[in-house]
Symmetry: C2
């Protein structure tokens, strides 16, 4: 099968968000049913690869999820990370920095929760918040922002060198779909807790955020970004699951050979079993 | 339906491991198929309850898994914790203490990874290792051991007071089934990494470990223990999933009411939408 890789199809080369359709399906299934079937197969393969990654115990994967409110960062965690053994998963979410966190460099809280070797980590928001909010809210100067872009590129190169493969996803939704999803949070008592009045303040700065994202994606792409059309939840989940799958396929983790004498151990267990 | 609760059926009252059948099915389904159906239903309900627990954000659950090698602690994590949203799960596993950990009280490393409010935590091994290995290996005196039992009871009461509900499971397997499972790890190249020659040294002290477990379960049951027959994987997974379900049902977490004016927010979004 000469399928085009999902990574090639979704990798952001030219960063022009205005040309990216949040409801697009540039690659892969055209409907929910097909996507569900594909995800089931992906899940099984992902699970096996993740176990090998865990057993190999030398490298890690880190999924970075960024996107406007309701773009589905939590949904990806639930539906994509939910495909594999929770033992090997490390999820961290980053809210507004606490007072304690603010007394450190902004990468401090990020470094603290990097996935250990063998793990599949996921960041629900990340260090990119520190080049988005401060830019929109004018909390730092243009020079400071440029420094941060550089620091982030360096930091991400450092991660690669330490064996952590990044999969950076920008979940791209339209303001119309965000509105629907915010309304759903207001309409469903089981979702009220997910809504925060401040979400509308952020929403009101939509174009400023799109600009901040554009600059962040443009300036921090020594490690590539993937743009995920996120107006359709099923497409978004499918796309991220495939990006992870292709990443792990390429990494090709191997179950390690036994660090002991197989036959001798079998003999101990069968012939000299202390409990026989 | 006047089903007997699984908690009542599996709670350890008299701690006499010799009377507990590791292949028993004292309650619930008699075969794998029935168990799978029941677990699918349990999974859906558990997922909803866990989301409410997360939203409520005031209490937590901590599943403590103890048992001999191959008793299925990892299997429970995979198959039971895998039923819910990984976002709300916190898994910690405790290996042989490191040099750094040994420079602290044995509860230090445990306290560090307690689940935060709203989370469903799971410990793959736990503070109980510190009253098992040291007893079998005679690393501490009888008086020190008694002190630890007391400390553990106090610690667990403290957890309850801080809103963490413990579900302590002893996964009970037979030495025959352990042998089969260790052999399977030696026979399957994808499982070799799970095998450690030291497992046989521990196995050779089977009755000493059963005795150490008996003492630990007897002396530390201010918070109850559940004995899980673990020779059948499907029964083990079913039983733990039901214990968690019943625990969460009793806790009855509630989605919190909105901390804002619902109608006002709807109006902001519909009538005064800044992006309209």
């Amino acid at each position: 099968m000469a399928k085009k890789s999902v990574r090639d199809a979704l990798r952001l080369d030219e960063v022009d968000l205005s040309t990216l359709d949040p409801a697009g399906r540039p690659v892969g299934p055209k409907n929910k049913k097909e996507a569900a079937e594909d995800m089931a197969a992906t899940g099984a393969e992902l699970d096996g690869l993740q176990e090998a990654l865990y057993a190999e115990n030398s490298r890690a994967v880190l999924l970075v999820l960024q996107g406007m409110d309701t773009s589905g960062k939590g949904g990806v965690v639930r539906h994509v990370l939910g495909l594999v053994n929770p033992q090997g998963v490390r999820i961290a979410s980053f809210k507004k920095p606490t007072a304690a966190e603010l007394r450190h460099h902004y990468l401090w809280r990020i470094r603290k929760v990097l996935p250990e070797k063998g793990r599949l980590g996921a960041f629900d928001r990340s260090h990119y918040e520190d080049v988005l909010v401060p830019k929109v809210e004018r909390l730092i100067t243009a020079a400071e922002l440029r420094t941060r872009y550089k620091e982030i590129n360096t930091f991400e190169r450092e991660l690669a060198e330490s064996g952590i493969t990044l999969v950076k996803c920008f979940l791209h939704i339209s303001p119309e779909v965000q509105k629907e999803r915010l309304l759903a949070r207001l309409d469903d008592p089981k979702k009220n807790w997910k809504y925060n009045p401040a979400d509308i303040d952020v929403r009101s700065k939509w174009s400023k955020y799109q600009d901040a994202y554009t600059q962040a994606l443009k300036n921090c792409r020594d490690t590539p970004w993937y743009a995920i059309p996120a107006d359709r939840k099923w497409y978004r989940n499918w796309a991220v699951s495939r990006l992870l799958l292709e990443t792990l396929q390429e990494m090709d983790p191997k179950f390690p050979p036994p660090g002991y004498d197989l036959e001798a151990e079998k003999a101990r267990l069968i012939n000299n079993d202390p409990l026989r």
